[in-house]
Structure formats: structure tokens, C-alpha cells
């Protein structure tokens, strides 16, 4: 089959690879009908997350049609079913799954020993996202093997909804949603969201759906800011204005009640934010893994007693975090990979009843063979690229 394969830094190739096979009774294999490139894939593209191997298939946002099933699925899936694949693999039986912390599943990471050495204790398995989280082949491919397929799936009901409307149930829609739910939004809340990428776009919509009084979104790319405004946000261009001053104004001098980091480890490096230049220099000398500008800014601007919600991905060690400020302001920090299936019933209902149509975020819809070029377009934010959907 054809697949997008990681070969090293900035080196994604459209390769021919062998087909996946059923390995366990709880497996299923789908023929992928649509998949997407995520901001998280850019961290791999830039080789900022360790434990990738040349030859690994990437991608963790996929959907398709079941073509093969293992013998242990107990009728939960059959050939021909149309499913969306959550990027977090979960078993449904372990203690964390029982608590609905699906991304922390204790059984789905088949390289748990290795991750435990680095993290203390392991987290769940993820598709196409390094050998720390199981080394599972990803979904930017013609076929995908799904482990624990009786749980790790979102069965699409008989419907006229298109792939484009459903695909983002795999990751960015529930990720933006969980980011907003982590804020426990109240009707008079001012919610500040860093980034206007695909995850942030979904977080903005989620905060509105959850009734936030005011949503303020921050980025520097005009096309993304325009899409944020369309969704109900007030925007700040951090290249043109002071984020701290504007947020103070927008919150009547109190600071935003809730802050969401939808940027993560690769904050823009620009001389107007000197800490980012320092971080980049340290990264090059392997003295720091991530560029945590957003964390510093959120801790500083958040209203005392407020919440920091961090869906943005971080990989390792970060410097100069004003922890004294965080502690003295009594801030609550919530973070994590998304427990995708936990939010599926709510989000699927909102799509089905026409409250939200997540396809608004797609700017590029092209064949899988154009994947290598699309990684570049998405990375360089060319052609106003926000979200790329690929068709195998």
C-alpha cells in the first residue's frame, strides 16, 4: 500500500509499504477514506519528539471502512462499517479507562517499559506518534490496523454526513472541546486562547458552545485570525500589539479567567519576543527541549485563581517557568492528550443536529500522494493553509 513515511527531520516520503495484517483478535483493519495532517505531526516533522525510527508511518487523524476484523471483537464491528479512528488507543478495561482517562490507558502502549523509564509511568498508545507511545503505524496510509478496535473507534451512524464533517472527531474537535471543558467555563468568563491553528479554532467554537461571555484569540497570521473572528472570537495579532495590554483591557483589568495554550512547544521565534530567541538558541545546543513562551505569558496574564488549560504538546524540559507566580496566584493547571471517545456522544450529536460543522477549518483537500508537499505548505503556512485533508 501507499503511505506517508517518516525518514528523518523534514523528510516525509510517499512510500510503498507492506500491508498491515490482523495481529490480535481485537484488531480491525480499515481502508482509509480520509486522513489529515495535524500540528502534532509538525513536531515530528521537525524532529522535536524523540523515539521516531526512519520507516515509521505517520498520521493519527483517519477514518474509513472496515475491511477485516479479528475474531475477538464480539460483534462490535463488521466489514463495511464506516468508522472514525480516535488517535488515542484504549482498552476499556484498565483502571484509567474505567475513569474515562482514555489517553492514559494502561494497556494500549506496547512499549510501556520504555516510556515508563522516561516518564515514571507509561501513558496510552497513540497512532503514528513515536515509539514512546507504542510505535503504532499511523493513518496517513491506504490501510490502518486498529488495535483494541472494539473500543478504539467511533462508529458512524447511517447518515449523509461527509467524511469532512466527521473526520475531526478523531482529534482536533475533541481536543479543542476538552481544552474548553478543562476550563469549566462559567457564563461571565473571559477565555483567552493562544494560537489560531486548527486545535485553537475548535477550542474557540467549543468555548462559545459552552457559553463563554468573551473569547479572545491570539496569533499573527491574518487568515487564521479572520477564521477565529468568524467563530465569535475577538483577536489579537501578537506581532502588532501587546498581548498583555490587550488581554488586560478585554478583561476589565482583571486578567482572563481561563487561558488555553493551543500552540505548544514550537512558539514562534521572533526578536519581538526575546525569550523565544533564547529558547531557540538553547534548543540548538540541546539545553532545552521546548520553547515555552506561551506558558510564561499565560501564567503572567491569568487572573489569580484562574485556570490554565494546556492541550498544546510539550516534549521534555523547559526553562524559566515563573513557578513562583503560578503558585502564588493559585492557578489550576489542566493538561493531557485528549480522551477522545469520552466526548464523542456530545460532539457527534452537535454535528448531527447541525449546531457545528467542523469542515469549516479545511483549506486543502488533496490526494495522499501530495502529502510530502503538503507537509511543507502546512509548515510554512503558505497558501493560507490551515488544515490539510488527504485522500488515499
Amino acid at each position: 500500500m501507499k503511505a506517508l513515511v517518516w525518514h528523518g527531520k523534514e523528510d516525509i516520503r510517499y512510500d510503498t509499504v507492506s500491508d498491515p495484517e490482523i495481529e490480535d483478535p481485537r484488531d480491525a483493519i480499515i481502508k482509509v477514506t480520509s486522513c489529515a495532517i495535524c500540528g502534532s505531526d509538525l513536531h515530528l516533522f521537525h524532529n522535536f519528539i524523540p523515539a521516531m525510527l526512519p520507516g515509521d508511518i505517520i498520521g493519527h487523524e483517519a477514518m474509513g471502512e472496515v475491511v477485516e476484523t479479528g475474531s475477538g471483537l464480539n460483534g462490535s464491528l463488521k466489514k463495511g462499517d464506516r468508522i472514525v479512528v480516535p488517535f488515542t488507543i484504549w482498552c476499556g478495561e484498565c483502571d484509567q479507562c474505567q475513569r474515562q482517562n482514555y489517553s492514559l490507558c494502561q494497556r494500549s502502549n506496547r512499549k510501556a517499559d520504555m516510556q515508563a523509564k522516561a516518564f515514571g509511568y507509561p501513558t496510552g498508545g497513540l497512532f503514528g506518534y513515536t515509539h514512546l507511545t507504542g510505535g503504532y503505524p499511523g493513518g496517513q496510509a491506504e490501510y490502518l490496523r486498529i488495535p483494541f478496535a472494539d473500543r478504539t473507534q467511533i462508529k458512524v451512524p447511517e447518515t449523509d454526513l461527509t467524511d469532512e464533517q466527521l473526520l475531526f472527531l478523531s482529534d482536533i474537535l475533541p481536543t479543542g472541546w476538552q481544552a474548553a471543558v478543562q476550563c469549566d467555563i462559567q457564563p461571565d468568563d473571559v477565555v483567552a486562547i493562544w494560537g489560531c491553528g486548527p486545535v485553537a479554532q475548535m477550542a474557540i467554537r467549543s468555548a462559545i458552545l459552552l457559553g463563554a461571555k468573551k473569547v479572545v484569540a491570539i496569533d499573527c497570521l491574518p487568515e487564521r485570525l479572520s477564521m477565529a473572528r468568524a467563530g465569535g472570537a475577538i483577536t489579537i495579532n501578537f506581532m502588532e500589539e501587546s498581548v498583555v495590554e490587550r488581554l488586560d483591557e478585554e478583561s476589565d483589568g482583571k486578567g482572563p479567567d481561563k487561558c488555553i495554550d493551543c500552540v505548544g512547544m514550537e512558539s514562534h521565534v521572533t526578536p519581538s519576543l526575546p525569550d523565544t530567541v533564547m529558547d531557540r538558541a538553547k534548543q540548538m545546543m540541546m539545553m532545552e527541549n521546548d520553547r515555552p513562551h506561551i506558558l510564561r505569558e499565560m501564567i503572567y496574564v491569568c487572573r489569580p485563581g484562574g485556570v490554565l488549560s494546556i492541550p498544546g504538546v510539550y516534549g521534555g524540559l523547559v526553562d524559566k517557568i515563573p513557578f513562583g507566580v503560578l503558585m502564588n496566584k493559585g492557578l489550576t493547571v489542566r493538561t493531557g492528550q485528549t480522551h477522545v471517545n469520552r466526548w464523542t456522544p456530545t460532539l457527534l450529536r452537535l454535528i448531527e443536529d447541525g449546531t457545528i460543522d467542523p469542515s469549516f477549518v479545511i483549506t486543502h483537500n488533496v490526494p495522499l500522494s501530495e502529502g510530502p508537499e503538503m507537509y511543507k505548505t502546512f509548515e510554512k503556512k503558505q497558501d493560507s493553509c490551515i488544515k490539510v485533508v488527504l485522500k488515499p
Binding site: 513515511v5 523528510d11 516520503r13 509499504v17 458552545l209 503558505q382
Partner: protein, 197 residues
């Protein structure tokens, strides 16, 4: 150390997983590869300038300038690391500036050196590399630029019924789960509030 070895030992693809049969086209462009080649060249030259400054001084007939040559070597190492990193434009840009500096340094040496022939060869090599650096730098800049004007997505709300109708719409069927709550609820005893001053 054992952690590192343990980790590398367990990084192996599982036997059942798909293997690459034939590799296809890559996201790395010709210019990306050229920038990497120039980056490695910088590292090589930088190392030579740092560790064999005496030999270079001798070849160019500029004994006594070893310190300067080593400084330029450190500059080359920096440019090399930068060109091999994600900030390759900055790296190649600093190579272009470095080429100019090299030429400005070599030109007066052409008058004073005992080995004018060697200096002339060095100048020619630097000029050739400078042309290559300049080409790669300008072409990379063009390839990576956001040349199209930004699109206007103000018609993409994502809410078929409009933003107004969407505000709070999820609350009909959704309540923040207990483990995600941080604020006191209305059905719980209210947080006593002091009268406004």
C-alpha cells in the same frame, strides 16, 4: 547511560508492522539538500580552521594570524550548525555574510603575502562558494515565502445557525463532568460574596 542504551534497544519496529518496500518522493527539496550540504561544508571548514589554523596560515603565507583564523573557524561552525537546523535560511544567510568577510580579509593579504598564488586560489574558491551561497539563500527565501496574500475566512464560522445561536448551545445536553469542575455550582451552597464597596 543505561537509560539511553535501554531506550535505543527497545526502539525497534514490531515484527508485524508494515515495512517500506519502495521509497518515493520526499518533502525535502533540492534546495533543502543544498543547504544541508553547505552546512556540512561549513562544519568541515570550521573544524579545519579551528584545529589546523597553523597549517592554513602557512599555506596562505600569513604566519601570526592563527588567532584570527580560529575565530573565523568558530563563525563557520556556528553557520554550519544553523544551516543544518530548521533555521537554514538564517544559516545560509550568515554564510553569505561570512563569505563577504572572508573576501574582505583575503584581498589585502594578496598584497602582503609571500604566497600570492595560494591566496589567489583561496580567493577564487571563496568567490565560487559565495555565488553558490547567495543563490541558495535567495532561492530558499523564495521557496519558503508566504507569497500569496492571506485569504479572508470571515465567512467560515463553523456554526450553520450562526454564532449567536451557538453561544451556550452545548449546555442543553452537556454538563462539565465532576472530575473537570473547578468552580462552585449553582446547586451547591453559593460562595458567600461580600457586598460591593
Amino acid at each position: 547511560m543505561t537509560l539511553v542504551t535501554d531506550m535505543t534497544q527497545s526502539i525497534a519496529r514490531e515484527p508485524g508492522d508494515p515495512e517500506v518496500v519502495e521509497t518515493g518522493h520526499s518533502s525535502l527539496t533540492g534546495l533543502d539538500k543544498a543547504a544541508r550540504a553547505l552546512g556540512w561544508f561549513s562544519l568541515g571548514l570550521g573544524l579545519a580552521e579551528v584545529f589546523a589554523a597553523g597549517k592554513i596560515a602557512d599555506t596562505l603565507g600569513v604566519e601570526g594570524k592563527e588567532g584570527l583564523i580560529r575565530t573565523y573557524g568558530v563563525r563557520e561552525l556556528g553557520a554550519g550548525m544553523m544551516s543544518l537546523s530548521l533555521n537554514k535560511e538564517t544559516g545560509i544567510g550568515s554564510r553569505v555574510a561570512g563569505d563577504a568577510l572572508d573576501m574582505a580579509t583575503l584581498l589585502p593579504v594578496l598584497m602582503s603575502s609571500r604566497k600570492k598564488g595560494n591566496v589567489l586560489i583561496a580567493l577564487a574558491v571563496v568567490a565560487g562558494i559565495a555565488a553558490l551561497d547567495t543563490y541558495v539563500f535567495t532561492a530558499l527565501k523564495k521557496e519558503n515565502a508566504r507569497s500569496e496574500p492571506p485569504r479572508d475566512f470571515s465567512d467560515r464560522s463553523g456554526f450553520p445557525g450562526g454564532v449567536q445561536a451557538a453561544r451556550g448551545a452545548a449546555l442543553k445536553n452537556f454538563e462539565t463532568p465532576r472530575d473537570f469542575q473547578v468552580t462552585t455550582r449553582e446547586d451547591q451552597p453559593p460562595v458567600p460574596r461580600l457586598p460591593a464597596i
